[in-house]
Amino acid sequence: MNELAGAIVSSVFLGTALGLMALAFTIVYTVSQVFNFAVGQYMILGALLSTAVHFTASPGVNDLIAVVLVAAMGSATYLVALRWPETHGAKPLTLVIITFGVGIIIEQVAIMAWGSYPLSEPPILAGHFLLYGNLVPDQGLLLVAVAAVVVAGLGVAQRRTIVGKQFLALGANRATARYFGLNDLVLVTLAWGLSGAVLALAGTLYLPLTGVSITTDLSYGVGAFAAAVIGGLGNPGGALVGGLIVAFVTNLMGVYVNPNLTDLLTFGLLFVFLVFRPGGLTGNVADLVGPRA
């Protein structure tokens, strides 16, 4: 019972973080059909920056600084690395691989700046309580609360605000959206910034629970990708559900079967979804696979 409760608690926290990352992934995908494979790096970079400034700012403020910085970096990534290729006929595959390159650059620069050993990031809420013999940190509850607000807020904003509708319009057909007068440069840059902000939020709130090391970027990044695919790309609520599914499957596997095989299972799950339900639990398959020959 205690073991199960512990696994469930840690799954909820990890799943929420992965869900936020998948949400960031899906924001960019909705607007421009690009998979951002640097999500893991941005998330951890958020935590690293927040750790770096925590002596100079009060708790919470350092996290906000990190969120703003990573949001700016997200926008800069689009403007520097992706805007020109995108407007000069690069295919989605090319843009995806470019985001891999951006991720590698961030990873290597972060290793030069902070080293590859895990750092501990001070949490905003240091308290904790006991649940069936397991310590439950208040920081985790803060993460869940913030994630719920962000997911619900963005879900509503996507459908109810002008900018949200403009995002959807750009994603549906960029050329037509431009004919109707939307400024795609500003809007896609904004989407990348928003995505960076959500990623930094996930990093600064979740990583105090585990320790911060840039070398874990790939497993978080692909976990988030798996979550986004399973939840259905382009669906904010689905992203959170996908994150929770990935976290529960891997954590329960780790506790009850073999902790070495958790990665294998995440990617196996991703593989199965890609092949049999590439639209995820909620999405539409038709536009993701080619004509059946």
Partner: protein, 350 residues
Amino acid sequence: MRMSVPGAPQPVLPRAAGDGPAAARLPGHLRAARTDVAVLAVFAALAVFTALHGSDFATTTAINFGLFTLLVASLQLMLGFANQPSLAQAAVYGVGAYVAIYAEAHAGVPVPVAFLAAAASGALLGLLIALPLSRLREHFLAMGTLALQVILSTAFVHLTGFTGGVNGEAVPDSNLNSVPVLIVIFGCATAAIAGLNHLRLSRRGRQVLAVKADETMAASIGINVRMLRVTVIVVSFAMAAGAGCLFTETAGFVSPDDFTLTASLAVLVAVILGGRSVTWGTLAGAAAYSVLNAESTSLPGLSDLLLGIMLVIVLGYLPEGLTGVAVPAAWRARLHWPAKQRPAKQRPGS
């Protein structure tokens, strides 16, 4: 001569017989054989230079270049011919390496048999993967192969009985820095590039290119699209796994660090760095990446950083690759440059 206007690339249609200079009126395969000879000459010159130079560093660099060329050629087959990206070439290379070690160390078979076993294991893996994955296109296929890469990387680390885990597996009877092995590897690389060169002109190759150009059109003229897509993956994986066997012949030991996602990305960047020319692009991409990588071994992390920067710059700003930038348009016509993959338009007057 057709002029190329910057910013308005014209579709280059497949060259008809009689198009081009007089010497180019030879039958297609014979004409292409001149390219094979040129590639062979490049490798032969490099092998002679390495043998004369005699240093371990030169031999190792040349061997790494030859192996990398094989991997680049295997991905060129998938991506260049069929527009099927793979982010798992390094993992398949690893499967070939481990199978070869196992065959030699535990089954005691001679090297050529181990090579065949490695290639067969790659082909089998390709078949198992391609049957489900052949439904996916473009970046979704890339994601599927990414999952394969990470699954195999994890398996390499944890299947300690088969792979030796993170500590790696020692190779029995390896020939470190030996020139004969270098010659075998260069021979394989030449054969792979020549194979791609002639595939371009063969019936099967044209079918693959037709599938790449327009899948629906290809299916409508009776090409079995799914079978071709699966075959391309099977052959490509067999090539990569065979290269893995050759790798074990020159390496004292192999470890999962040799077969990471970063290595797969390096193969991909080399293909795109080379450009669209099947032969010279493969060679140029492999050479350029090998040189940059050999130069940057002094500082750990620098080669990875360089890979990242190259991914961004080459893919984003040099989509035509090195050969697209460096080779003048007049030469391209002589080298019967492959057509740009876009819907072919009717040229006025043709």
